[in-house]
Symmetry: C2
Subunit: 235 residues, 2 copies
């Protein structure tokens, strides 16, 4: 296995402000971004072990920053440190899934409504653009792009709230179900996926709080419902 393509490490250096490339925690930020986006787009599969040295080599950095990033993600329950110290991405169980769903339904509509008043016409245009892109990817079956864009759509709204508390909690939840989500899409495809994004956009246009809550709630229920049915027939 000589030429195994690295699944992470996107461009040589496209990091903008979110990942300062010459600042204090440069390498750590790069690793953190890489692993996070890898988790959110499903490039890590549940149950699979993640080794410090492996990731470090793959990203071309020393094990040091990788150690810290993995600890961070373990603290967010995106990774699981087994009693023997081994790190793996946790596999989904019925109990965990139900809890994630419950937490999402409690927090995300709330944060969306909190963000509502800060979303303007420009944001509506941006969200529409993302949603159009999503519709294309859905039909073409590009699961990874779909997951990235769906995440972008939701967090575009949530981030507008300026939240420093609820947003990280929701972030943690997405990191927890995203890898499992990916395995399901790999099995059943993305063709028959439906979302409530257009209803959400309309609610934002009209600054209708209850309607936005309803749209987000329905969107979560729809998307997670598909996953919930698949959770029983695991290998």
């Amino acid at each position: 296995m000589a030429v195994r393509r690295s699944a992470l490490k996107s461009g040589p250096s496209k990091a903008a402000t979110p990942t300062p490339s010459t600042s204090r925690g440069a390498t750590r930020g790069q690793v953190d971004t890489a692993v996070r986006s890898g988790l959110l787009t499903g490039r890590f599969i549940p149950g699979k072990a993640v080794t410090i040295r492996g990731l470090a080599a793959e990203l071309g950095v020393s094990p040091m920053p990788v150690r810290e990033v993995l600890q961070r993600l373990a603290a967010e329950n995106a990774l699981e440190v087994k009693p023997n110290g081994r790190i793996q991405i946790p596999d989904m169980t019925r109990g965990r899934f139900d809890e994630v769903l419950k937490a999402r339904l409690l927090l995300e509509p709330e944060l969306a409504e909190l963000a509502l008043s800060k979303l303007t016409g420009n944001d509506v245009k941006a969200l529409t653009a993302i949603d159009d892109d999503i519709d294309q990817r859905l039909t073409s079956g590009d699961a990874e792009a779909y997951m990235r864009l769906n995440h972008a759509f939701h967090f575009y709204i949530y981030r507008a709230s300026g939240s420093k508390v609820l947003l990280p909690l929701i972030d943690s939840l997405w990191l927890q179900f995203a890898p499992f989500m990916r395995t399901v899409y790999g099995r059943v495809g993305t063709a028959n996926l439906v979302d409530q994004h257009k209803e959400a956009i309309r609610a934002i246009e009209q600054q209708d709080g209850p309607a936005l809550r309803a749209a987000i709630t329905a969107d979560i229920t729809d998307g997670m419902g598909l996953l919930g049915k698949e959770i029983l027939l695991k290998a």
Copy 2:
């Protein structure tokens, strides 16, 4: 300043099962427990910087495990890494406080109700013992003991749920407001504190879900209300 007493590092070695002392992550577990309990009992004050080498020396370990623990706690928003890399415990703002309160009200009653069916008569006795202890500490004004016991009371209930998702979220929230809570108690004392613990215990005895929700909700509202009023007149 020669003989500054170490505020952390409780006994020489009282670590039981929650902190395995000879296992894989021994030192890290010890550091994690020490800092966490330090945060929850208010031994760290908001705005105060926390240095890696300082903590390491205070705990008698190398800087390495401290680095990882601080990163973990930063991921849980219990600590804040400033752009220059400096680590400090974040100070409370009105916006943050409102969000924490909102999140607590959304999550904690839910998890309490989830735990309700798993709480038996023995648990009622244990909770009653804790609550009696709390009442004593309240009158004697021992803020640190009060905070530790209040945390113990709530998490005794929450932990019974067996939750792996909601519980960590709530954990993160407590770590965020606890240090601020401590500074307020240091200013106004603990004498005029009221809680709804007895109502909660009664609800558990009668396995009354709505009543338990109401008690937890009221307890949060009461306790946080006192803090909310004090947040404006900060130094």
